[in-house]
Symmetry: C2
Subunit: 193 residues, 2 copies
Amino acid sequence: MNSELSHIQANINSLIEMNEEEWTYYSAMFRVKEFKKKEILLEVNDICSNIFFVNKGLLRIYFIEKNGDESTIYFSQENDFAVDYDSFLNQTPSNYTIEAMEDSQVVFMSNKMVVEGYNKLRNGEKLGRLLAEKYFLIFSKKIQNIYTKTPFERYLLMNEQFPNIRQRVPQHYIASYLNISSVHLSRLINKKL
Amino acid sequence: MNSELSHIQANINSLIEMNEEEWTYYSAMFRVKEFKKKEILLEVNDICSNIFFVNKGLLRIYFIEKNGDESTIYFSQENDFAVDYDSFLNQTPSNYTIEAMEDSQVVFMSNKMVVEGYNKLRNGEKLGRLLAEKYFLIFSKKIQNIYTKTPFERYLLMNEQFPNIRQRVPQHYIASYLNISSVHLSRLINKKL
DNA sequence: TAAAACTGATAACATTTGTTATTGCAAAAT
DNA sequence: ATTTTGCAATAACAAATGTTATCAGTTTTA
């Protein structure tokens, strides 16, 4: 058993049932790759042809605004996925950039592999459904928090969703994730309001 | 052919293939109901046991903040769905309220029916996947807009996503959807800044 | 190891957005 | 038909948040 795939195997097994034969067939299509801190996994305007699964390390998904500012929408830590889902599903140019925040080990699931899984795995469509539902609920919660929580409350909640993220990335990325300026976040943390 | 179901049939057919026999079996489980303006389809803390499909009229999905303010997260117009997906999928108490903004005709898909569809329809899981993906992308776009667009830009975009919504609901609900105060929206519209 | 780039705190100031109250008009209820 | 309620505009003020600049301490790079 390839230990590089043990985490994603466990992750998928927590969602659907997959027998030995299916796993053998399916797992042969994964690719594993290492990235150095600051390396880019997906560039804006490229077509996102893979879903990334983080074995080790940390990825950041962000987009760039007209004025050049970056807006971080998601951090993918160990055992989580990273993808521009729109670009991936529709094979259209990406609006997002995906960047390694630390030296990372990443498992690639190609679009071809995922589509093939829909058809060839007994529970391929179910896997797709459960993943889409899971990330829908995450984003739904994120919207609810933007609407109802103060920035500081969101700052605290963020640490629950992304444990130790505050220790792993510079503060201005946190501010970007919270959709506030880094100055404002610093003020909130240090209660100089 | 029941004309009350023609819209949802077309909607589902645009997503998956379904033969006559499957449709006959599946469509027998829909229920159709009329609601008067201001009637509530889903109360907070009730379990959302149905997905609502709007044949005619307009629904609003919102939640209530600690201070009593309402935050509107979605408008469901003709040929669109409305649901507290979290409550529906996990059969947990709802955080949201769903209310008719106009006299409406609504098709009910029960949780039982949907789960049965996953198993009994050839493309049941695929239907679930495509719907989850569709609404994921809508919410993903919504987050991107919150991060990158000004309130006034979001006001203009909203009219693309929900055609004629400005003519159909009072302005303060629009403000609530945009996550700004009604006074602020009025100022933006009347350029008194 | 020296230089450069990055980070986070802070201050001063500008801008955006919210809150409350008032008013006139329109819509809905009786 | 008249009363009540709801709605949108507006003004005055308050609070939240952004912008720019500076600085000291780190970390990274050459």
